[in-house]
């Protein structure tokens, strides 16, 4: 999912575990996944099943999958996926990282198990190294989001980003990692940009998987960048690890602000990211020009959010895009273009009004 493979590879490599990383998500992954899935399931299930099959083809015999109680259907996915894999004749064991119940400790236990009982010191240092890689990737991505819409030569930021992720993935120790990170941050700073541009700001929110996995949403952020739109997104994997694993058990919740904003319209956690989606609309209505709400088709929490969103007092244009295996890139692009046109016109109108009053 997204760049999650970078830190995972780092952890497993440091511990000397024999691992395979399934190939990058492709049309084949999706086709495999949807062929063997029950039809009514959402795209994260189908994609991950595709990943599992591809991993099994490469000879994996144990799969690590995060999941747990209370997060929509996801908590149940691995049990079904395991059965499907067995029916297909793969002898494979799925280990569920019960992150939602036991947080950090649960994750550590499992890492210890797969690393053939490495000493704790080694596990912790490997884990720390993985985290710093994750943070580096996310830090660079945040800057790329800002540079993309205003760069003078289109595509520069994307190229740098791809190279940076690769370089971070290849870094073996802290020194290299630090150097690589500084190097790319510097390069990004020196990309020629249009200083006068005031790009539209569009928030991207919705279900965790489709927001973070570019393949399932047709790389929506890059496409928006091409249209000259700055993307803001609250969901980053590094943010999630920081809070879900370390701070939440101590009662610190980064989302309480979002939840508070959503409270008048949705009073409780409905699983998945539904509560956050509503909250983001309310919270950022003044700050953003528009919001893109990504959801997998048949996603239960996001459907509720989608139903509630139009009725909030805080007004902001929202475009909901449902992702599934039937969706076509051209369709998404057309809708994005129309949405951006609408936002531009809205902004122009506001500016005209301002001029008149002045």
């Amino acid at each position: 999912m997204g760049n999650l493979y970078v830190p995972c590879r780092a952890v497993l490599e440091q511990l000397g575990v024999d691992y395979v990383i399934p190939p990058v998500n492709s049309q084949r992954t999706l086709s495999l996944g949807s062929r063997y899935s029950p039809e009514g399931l959402c795209i994260p299930f189908k994609m991950t099943l595709g990943n599992m099959i591809e991993a099994a083809e490469l000879g994996a015999n144990t799969l690590l999958v995060p999941g747990g109680y209370g997060i929509c259907r996801l908590g149940y996915y691995t049990r079904v996926q395991e059965q499907i894999l067995h029916n297909l004749g793969y002898d494979i064991e799925i280990i569920q990282l019960g992150v939602s119940e036991r947080k950090f400790l649960g994750m550590m236990d499992i890492i210890k198990r797969v690393s053939n009982d490495s000493p704790w010191r080694r596990i912790l240092s490997a884990f720390r190294f993985g985290l710093s890689k994750l943070n580096a990737v996310d830090q660079i991505e945040r800057i790329v989001q800002k540079v993309r819409p205003v760069e003078l030569i289109p595509g520069t930021a994307n190229q740098l980003y791809t190279r940076a992720v690769q370089a971070i993935d290849n870094a073996d120790d802290y020194d290299t990692l630090k150097r690589v990170k500084a190097d790319y941050l510097g390069q990004l700073k020196h990309v020629a940009i249009n200083e006068q541009a005031r790009p539209l700001i569009v928030g991207v929110t919705g279900e965790f998987y489709v927001v973070l996995e570019p393949f399932s949403s047709f790389d929506i952020e890059r496409e928006l960048g091409k249209l000259g739109v700055e993307v803001r997104r609250a969901t980053f994997i590094s943010g999630w690890t920081k809070f879900s694993l370390f701070l939440n058990p101590f009662g610190i919740n980064e989302k309480s602000r979002i939840h508070k904003a959503a409270y008048p319209y949705l009073k409780r956690d409905i699983g998945g990211d539904g509560w956050e989606s509503v909250g983001e609309k309310v919270l950022h209505a003044k700050e953003y020009d528009g919001l893109i709400h990504l959801a997998p088709f048949t996603c239960m929490p996001e459907i509720i959010a989608e139903n509630i969103m139009p009725s909030t007092k805080e007004q902001m244009p929202v475009l909901t895009i449902l992702c599934d295996e039937q969706i076509a890139k051209a369709g998404v692009l057309t809708r994005l273009e129309a949405f951006v046109d609408l936002l531009e016109r809205k902004r122009r109108k506001q500016n005209d009004q301002l001029r008149v009053t002045v």
Binding site: G40, Y69, R73, D269, G274, T298, I303, I304, N307
Partner: protein, 335 residues
């Protein structure tokens, strides 16, 4: 006197006798929306986004039909009834969603039931609900006890006397449900036993399932429903089929399905709504087991507002024909 409106959808089928007793003990009057019609469904579907599931659309339609007929609408939020089980987001967000899509609706009475938060919290929540009618905690307690008793009676009617849910409802509340006991005409076919699995709001809503039970009875079939099975049997087969229970309302699908697969019914019909999150997983689980077992025929009907009545009838006829032929030939394995 306050009038409490209850939409005839979703959890109504399982809990109506309990809710009715509770509110009436507290001195309120209870109004139920009329049975689902084409209009209810269209109204509901026009309010929500297209990919909302069928039962939720029906629910919204019923809520709309209650507007102006009551002072408040009761919509409970049921998160979990057993420790570490979880419910579909649609149930959790129901009051908020209704408020958003039916802005003209009267105030909504909510109660959140979550066993994981402990007994004390549960009692507090019940009292909070009662506070809308009386300040007296003893009165609330009395009402709650009576309500619980009527739920137990209701369930007992179903699994001891094997009444189909609407009949049990009729007996306990004295309100006429639509005439399920009316059998149109009997045909000369060998008697069969058909296990039905699915949520009560799909099995007993005659409009959205095209009178499935009545049609089965026409074929001289004895219908067994999940409500007729005692809790421990269901729990055992849930554990067998799907491991530890994860969903609050899925035992009526997996538990009952697992039991029917072994108890030797002549066929199983599963009913699910298109886009139902939990069912898409659990129905598949039952399907997988039925395929592996190869002894009990299994058919899954997926309902949505575009399902055509003819399509359902054709599939039902084919399924029943297959079962009858099999019965006459005395085959043990289904092909």
């Amino acid at each position: 006197m306050t009038t409490v409106g209850i939409p005839r959808a979703l959890l109504y089928y399982q809990y109506y006798p309990m809710w009715k007793t509770f509110f009436e003990h507290l001195g309120a009057e209870v109004v139920v929306s009329p049975p689902t019609t084409r209009k209810t469904l269209t109204e509901g579907a026009s309010r929500v986004v297209a990919d909302t599931c069928l039962p939720a659309k029906v629910f919204v339609g019923h809520t709309v039909s209650l507007v102006g007929k009551c002072d408040c609408i009761f919509i409970p939020v049921i998160r979990s009834l057993k420790s570490k089980t979880y419910n579909c987001s649609k149930f959790l967000g129901l009051p908020d969603m209704t408020r958003a899509v039916v802005p003209e609706a009267p105030p909504i009475l909510e109660i959140e039931i979550d066993i994981n938060r402990g007994k004390r919290r549960l009692y507090q929540d019940i009292y909070k609900l009662g506070r809308h009618f009386t300040w007296n905690p003893l009165k609330v307690k009395e009402a709650a006890t009576a309500a619980w008793q009527s739920l137990l009676d209701y369930r007992e009617l179903m699994y001891r006397r094997e009444l189909i849910l609407p009949q049990a409802m009729e007996e306990i509340t004295g309100e006429s449900q639509t005439g399920l006991n009316m059998i149109l005409k009997s045909q000369t076919v060998p008697p069969t036993t058909i296990g039905l699995i699915g949520h009560a709001y799909l099995l007993y809503d005659e409009h959205i399932n095209y009178q499935l039970i009545r049609r089965l009875q026409q074929y001289d079939a004895t219908v067994v429903t999940p409500e007729m099975l005692p809790g421990n049997i269901i729990e055992a087969s849930v554990n067998k089929l799907a491991g530890k229970a994860y969903w609050t309302y899925e035992e009526e699908v997996v538990g009952a399905g697992g039991h029917f697969l072994e108890s030797g019914v002549d066929g199983i019909i599963g009913i699910m709504a298109f886009g139902c999150g939990p069912d898409s997983l659990m129905m598949d689980m039952v399907h997988r087991h039925a395929t592996r077992q190869k002894t009990t025929p299994f058919m899954c009907l997926t309902l949505e507002e575009h399902t055509s009545e003819t399509g359902v009838i054709t599939r039902l006829e084919a399924f029943m024909d297959m079962i009858h032929r099999r019965k006459q030939k005395g085959e043990a394995v289904c092909v």
